[in-house]
């Protein structure tokens, strides 16, 4: 019984990690919070759903949804963050929270218009509903898909960031914006890249969540954005490996506390944990800056 809960928690945690990675990637580089991230996540789920509805299989719909969400994320960067880059950081911090909330609302209202405020569902059988039994645990195809996508995305992102020249440029901008510029890195290209990556990760998470709960609606991003804060702070704001671990821990925590606590108390426990971590270790439990490779090789 408890092993089953752990498995469910890990699957959910993988999705949290995808969402949190995109958010933390932008924070690590720009030092700003992208409050429109939840809306980008929603748009990914929408695009994925529409692709499945026009008859594409899920393995084709997923990359299209990620690509679309990536473009929408670039749109957020252009309208909400680019105009504020001239400000001092302390001013930009606050102003960018508000303007990204605004950008998120614009995307939300498009979502509301497209969905006519209805909850939409994936057609039956989008993912085969068979389950396999491993060591007494029931694993559905959907869970395998979610876990597989999460692992693949994280591996790809880690490879891109830590093993390619483009990734090195991104980390250079995160470390020192001016020095990177002096060395010939084009910061605008880096900003577009990171927003695209972040949006694509959010889009993948959106499709997975849409499939897992079989409910796609325009407000689905908000609770995820709130929960993602827990995952991100747990692992250290701006840290890529931290977001991964934080997401998994959060998923486990939610699944286990959901099994043993009254449902109404789960959120209180999770947010209390967030508060306590901020008090004890504000840099997160696994603080590590994005400029360092986890394996110390550049």
């Amino acid at each position: 019984m408890i092993a089953q809960q752990v498995l469910n928690g890990l699957v959910l945690g993988g999705v949290y990690a995808l969402f949190a990675l995109g958010f933390t990637l932008i924070f690590g580089i720009h030092r700003i919070m992208n409050m429109a991230h939840g809306a980008v996540f929603m748009s990914g789920a929408f695009i994925g759903l529409f692709m499945v509805r026009i008859g594409l299989p899920i393995w084709a719909a997923l990359p299209i949804a990620m690509f679309g969400a990536g473009l929408i994320s670039i749109f957020v960067e252009v309208i909400a963050f680019k105009p504020l880059r001239k400000l001092a950081l302390a001013d930009a911090e606050l102003a960018s929270v508000i303007s990204s909330i605004g950008a998120g609302l614009i995307i939300l209202s498009v979502g509301q218009y497209v969905s006519k405020t209805q909850t939409m569902r994936f057609p039956f059988g989008t993912v085969p509903i068979d389950a396999i039994v491993v060591l007494g645990l029931r694993v559905t195809m959907l869970q395998l898909l979610m876990l597989g996508v999460a692992v693949l995305m994280v591996a790809l992102l880690a490879y891109y960031l830590y093993r390619t020249p483009q990734g090195r440029q991104i980390r250079a901008v995160a470390g020192n914006y001016r020095a990177a510029q002096l060395l010939g890195v084009n910061p605008n290209a880096i900003f577009y890249q990171t927003f695209f990556l972040s949006g694509a990760l959010a889009g993948a998470a959106g499709v997975m969540v849409g499939l897992a709960f079989n409910a796609v609606q325009f407000l689905m991003g908000e609770p995820f954005l709130l929960k993602a804060f827990v995952a991100i702070i747990l692992g250290g704001l701006g840290s890529v490996p931290g977001a991964l671990i934080g997401g998994l821990v959060l998923g486990l925590l939610q699944s286990l506390s959901g099994a043993y606590l009254p449902a109404l108390l789960v959120d209180a426990v999770i947010f209390l944990l967030l508060f306590v971590i901020l008090m004890v270790r504000p840099d997160g439990l696994f603080a590590q800056s994005m400029t360092e490779s986890p394996t110390k090789r550049v």
Binding site: P83, A90, G102, L108, P262, F271, L278
Partner: protein, 295 residues
């Protein structure tokens, strides 16, 4: 005149209460803290006032007073942990505080009504009471803001080490700003509760927090009039754009994006700053341009 105002009275209520919340939010910003705890304090004040009036039969004025006190105490308590953090970390910690409170309100059903809400609250607060509460708060904040306290707040926001070196005790003013913020939010929360027959926990959740935050940043976070300007814009906007009611969210979002891009210090503050600079320029004291960083 009255025939024009009467149908719009609920809007005035919303503006007065919203401005109260926004003032509570603005005071912590002014002291250089990125806390968004206002809606939590407001929830405490509102539920305290409602429970004390309905279940314990207290006079509404006393109940609101106790709600204000509860907000103040909670502000004092929260100021200590938040002083250890900075910037977005403060924002996230205070957001966690609000979410914990909302979850607890939902959980303690016998006391708060839980997910069904708290009902049958006597409606005793009139628009005039709200108006005078708002005026009094604005007057108090103006008085405080013009004296040494206001200067200490400004110094702390702009450069904490310099402020400390000039003899400003950051811890003391930090606590003061939170006590004020908590008391103001508690007061308007209590008034809000006794104006509306019923309360729900969602009323104080993420969306009201975002609304208050937007009102302050939109209007301007330095001057006392900024929150009033911001709240008025946000309350009246849906009325003005009533033909576009379906696109209200989009219009609201567009407004936030556009104002931040072109008036990043808020409508009121940016205008005041431009006028100020023009006056200086005319006196030959400054090149006519807006300073880039007015923290």
């Amino acid at each position: 005149m009255m025939s024009f105002i009467t149908p719009h009275l609920p809007l005035l209520d919303l503006i007065f209460i919203g401005t109260g919340y926004a003032l509570s939010q603005a005071i912590v910003f002014r002291a250089g803290t990125f806390s968004v705890a206002t809606s939590g304090f407001a929830a405490l004040g509102a539920y305290a006032a409602a429970i004390l009036t309905v279940k314990h039969g207290l006079h509404p004025a006393v109940a609101v007073g106790l709600g204000t006190l509860l907000g103040l105490l909670c502000g004092l308590l929260l100021s200590a942990p938040l002083a250890r953090l900075r910037g977005v970390y403060q924002a996230i910690a205070s957001l966690a505080f609000v979410e914990i409170l909302v979850a607890l309100i939902l959980f303690f059903e016998e006391l708060t009504g839980g997910p069904l809400g708290f009902h049958n609250i006597p409606r005793v607060v009139t628009p005039w009471i709200l108006f005078f509460a708002m005026l009094a708060t604005m007057a108090l904040l103006t008085l405080l803001g013009q004296g040494g306290i206001g200067r200490a707040f400004d110094a702390m926001r702009q450069d904490p080490p310099v402020a400390a070196s000039l003899g400003v005790n950051p811890a003391r003013y930090h606590v003061l700003s939170f006590a004020l913020s908590g008391a103001i939010a508690g007061l308007f929360g209590g008034l809000d509760a006794l104006r509306n027959f019923s309360l729900t926990a969602e009323q104080f959740g993420f969306s009201i927090l975002i609304g208050t935050l937007s009102a302050v940043v939109l209007g301007g976070r330095r001057a006392v009039l900024g929150p009033l300007v911001g709240t008025t814009i946000l309350v009246l906007l849906p009325e003005i754009f009533r033909p576009l009611a379906d696109y209200r969210q989009a219009v609201y979002g567009l407004l936030l994006v556009v104002v931040m891009a072109f008036l990043p210090f808020g409508v009121y503050d940016t205008i005041v700053m431009k006028l100020h600079n023009r006056r200086l320029a005319r006196a030959g004291m400054l090149a006519p341009k807006v300073p880039k960083a007015m923290t």
